[in-house]
Symmetry: C2
Subunit: 335 residues, 2 copies
DNA sequence: TAAAGTTGTCGAAACGCTTCAATTCGGAGG
DNA sequence: CCTCCGAATTGAAGCGTTTCGACAACTTTA
């Protein structure tokens, strides 16, 4: 391994000088700087990460805590991940993968050994057992998602309540009066997952506010279940003319199910999805965007800010944006 | 931070003794051992990862190089990831996430700074520009996938050629004589991706061998394209009674497309998928399993073996396994 | 009983980097 | 001409581990 001493010798300067060239923490004459840079290039020198971490007590690594349990939609997770990694790299940080199944235990281990400078935790539940630990840890953390109490934390999330409401408003404005809601798989609700519950709540409240009849049902992620759920919704509420879907995995089967039950989209039943934009685009669905990339990016930016000692708001909510597409149309008034 | 010196002081021994208790590299009397262990527990001591890496020149971290480009099916990728991470943890290693878009550049950086002890590279192309670099790097690497030349490497892959052939054999045994092949999105083939091409090759060769007429077409991952591809296949080969699908994203729409074109599964057209077992199970498709977990696990095991100085075979091919389900049936002989 | 192991423990030297205090060296100010 | 100052550079002391050689205290063996 080529060390800083090798570079120093090659350039005819002291190791400390090389270090200062690298970090820019002291002024160095242009001649020396170029000379050192040249030696670095020639020798192919890379600072030893461990040594640096030891000397600076900064690892330049953040932990990304990934959910890998039933009900989470993996492609969406990957969107978060790429955005987070890209953003981290922009700040010269690397990303250590920690799976949620390692639990609080895993966080403690990684934090204790100073392997990482901070944590980005995804898929936080309303009442998450990792939250107390995160609060008291030396390293800062940012949560994607929103536990019951955000005091002392830094959380980023889509405003799912508004998202649910936004769907209702859009449909209500188009004249729909009976709306169904197709939610995430039931395990997600059982797990007390904030985003799912809040979307439902926002949806329900908005419906009440606008005097609209609403029915909600979870949906598992296979065709049969989706079909069953849709059939059930239609049976419960025969006048239903619109459907809000908050379930990426079910999305592909909704149109088919409706068709199988003799309903056309959007003429008989309008559909609004809450999902990443690309998915909606691909299926030509009116949708409230789930800005996974934006969330991942913002979360990482906030984490970096905290690492640099800047204070951050406990809760950042991104406003939902609705994109109109072919799956919604004004309600047809029949004779 | 609580250091090894703190523990030593607390236990009334030398720091080196604590180290030996931790690593077990020298015999320690039971009394001392328990005394030290107790102090460690009490003080909540965790060895500093950087310091350890510096002293041992081992980071106990492996890099996982993830593909995040169009055409890769993210849920499958995540399966690899979880298996790899779980296996790594079993060997007391952590996983650093490197996205493929960081390219050879990123590999060099991570390797040069001694952040990781080895590399697990996913989604390797037939002619991958990272391969030469991997060959000459100090750290060992294991590839999931199979470049053109495997000499000097360690590769793990499903035997896609046999997988393609296996589908043909299954269908031929059932009496089918005209078989279609629905492949990955065309970008995947353009990129010279080994697994896609090899599956096709195996499929084609087996069809020739068994005197079966075959037609192949790529499929993009939206309903319209799948429908178009299927229609095109049926037009090209009107007598087609079976379809092999090697495209996870298209899978959900194949049955629908066939139905839309007036064909029933499996009576008119039998379908065999090449995909993870759970997906096939869920859709009740006869399939050749894509053992993502198994591949991820094996790859990591091989990497650990190499890290411990054990030699490994350049290529490990997992044999394909076919699981019969409701989507295939003997060909109906019509009058 | 002396020599030759064993076993358990310790002290000190690495590992490769950063950073503080000290030093040198021109040039500006008196 | 001497002093003082700022800019550029250096030497050495850490950062928290591991590990090697040394050593004391026993236990065998001769």
């Amino acid at each position: 391994m080529v060390t800083i001493a090798d570079v120093a010798r090659h350039a005819g300067v002291a190791p400390s000088t090389v270090s200062y060239v690298l970090t820019g923490k002291r002024s160095i004459s242009p001649q020396t700087r170029t000379k050192v840079r040249e030696s670095i290039r020639l020798l192919g020198y890379h600072p030893h990460a461990g040594a640096r971490a030891l000397a600076t007590s900064r690892a330049n690594v953040v932990a990304l805590v990934l959910p890998l349990r039933p009900g989470v939609h993996l492609p969406v997770v990957m969107r978060f991940v790429t955005a987070a990694v890209t953003t981290a790299r922009r700040h010269d940080m690397d990303v250590l993968l920690v799976t949620a199944d390692q639990g609080a235990q895993g966080l403690r281990r990684v934090a204790g050994s100073a392997q990482v400078d901070g944590f980005l935790v995804m898929d936080v539940e309303l009442d998450d057992d990792r939250v107390p630990l995160l609060r008291q840890m030396a390293q800062p953390s940012v949560l994607i998602g929103r536990p019951a109490a955000v005091k002392g934390l830094t959380c980023v999330d889509l405003d799912f309540e508004s998202a649910g409401a936004r769907c209702v408003d859009h449909l209500a404005d188009l004249g729909h009066r009976y709306i169904g809601f197709l939610g995430a798989p039931s395990v997600v609700y059982q797990r007390n997952t904030g985003y799912a519950q809040r979307t439902m709540a926002g949806f329900g409240a908005a419906a009440m506010r606008r005097g609209i009849a609403s029915t909600a049902l979870p949906a598992e992620d296979d065709y049969e279940s989706v079909l069953a759920s849709v059939r059930s919704l239609l049976r419960t509420q025969p006048a239903m003319t619109a459907l809000v879907v908050h379930n990426e995995a079910a999305l592909g089967w909704v149109a088919g199910s409706l068709r199988a039950l003799g309903r056309r989209v959007p003429d008989d039943v309008a559909v609004v999805a809450i999902c990443p934009d690309e998915l909606a685009e691909q299926m030509q669905l009116t949708s409230v965007q789930l800005p996974a990339e934006e969330l991942g990016r913002q979360a990482m930016e906030l984490l970096v800010a905290r690492l640099n000692g800047h204070p951050t708001a406990p809760l950042t909510l991104l406003p939902p944006k609705l994109a109109g597409r072919a799956s919604t149309a004004p309600r047809l008034r029949r004779a």
